[in-house]
Symmetry: C2
Amino acid sequence: MTTTPTVTRQHTVIDSPYGALTLVATDGVLSGLYMTGQRHRPPEETFGAPDLRPFGEAARQLNAYFAGELTEFDLPLRLEGTPFQRGVWAELVRIPYGETRSYGELAGRLGKPGASRAVGLANGKNPIGIIVPCHRVIGASGSLTGYGGGLDRKQQLLAFERGAEGEAPVLF
Amino acid sequence: MTTTPTVTRQHTVIDSPYGALTLVATDGVLSGLYMTGQRHRPPEETFGAPDLRPFGEAARQLNAYFAGELTEFDLPLRLEGTPFQRGVWAELVRIPYGETRSYGELAGRLGKPGASRAVGLANGKNPIGIIVPCHRVIGASGSLTGYGGGLDRKQQLLAFERGAEGEAPVLF
DNA sequence: GGGCGGCTGGCGGAAATCCGACATCGACCT
DNA sequence: AGGTCGATGTCGGATTTCCGCCAGCCGCCC
């Protein structure tokens, strides 16, 4: 017979300036962070049993981030996807706090200059929002273009990271 | 949404000179007759609830057949299969009691002279044994070649139909 | 008679291929 | 600026193609 995977999965919900955040752990390691109403959010029944124990450190760092006291997460993550998706997500975490990159820029960095749309696709499938900062990717012309959690949240996140001293956010 | 078929299915088991026979009805019409240990016999759980009511006439004719008093069944049948299979099965019921045809002969009658092996395949999938007389098909050389219920049963059926006055059955 | 080899056609599952959907980009137009 | 158009890469599901199986047949050989 085929070997059954037998992964344990737990989840919890925390509050944030961007609404409730659902945290998911697979085998005790953070594997998902989803906003309410987010596109491509997996069905609820895949989140496992409620259990806040695995999420102590993650919640601490998120709260520090929302307070403006943390600019770089340091957490074990479990990112499961196709080789290309994993490449894109690995590139995302290298974008510094407060900065942005364009889809085409990331594609070029991956050695596939024409794959900008594919980067957008993989971006949308990012399972761990905020911590894997897909919100830092915008169009080459500077337009926000899209965000699984909604363009307004993307704009708020960027404005927040740009800092209170930043000029008014570029709206669309 | 897709329309659900919602077919009713019932079954019963009767005894015979060839062992227990499982009769299956779909929407009240005979759709299956399987021997014990027969190849391609569907799994038990598809036979529906036990209920002998739909099978009165079928059982009567079968008993008459086993007693040698009936040579032609007259029953509504529900034969479900591919167009080719239905063609083969339709050809089967036209083989008279006590006679035999070869696989190639049937193939030719269907307008596909080369399809003798395909006829054998369709023959093996015959859902209503005995009544749809797949046992009356033998190799061009006269050999029995195969039977879902076992070659011995095929040989017994042919010997029985040939009649007590017939000469000794050709063994293999 | 029996045993091979090569041809046959249909079937069903597996593999390969196709196609639509996209969080893009650049050139061109008005 | 905004809109349209074509080219681009990946993904997932659907579709198509392929391949092995088989209740055969014929010709050839021993």
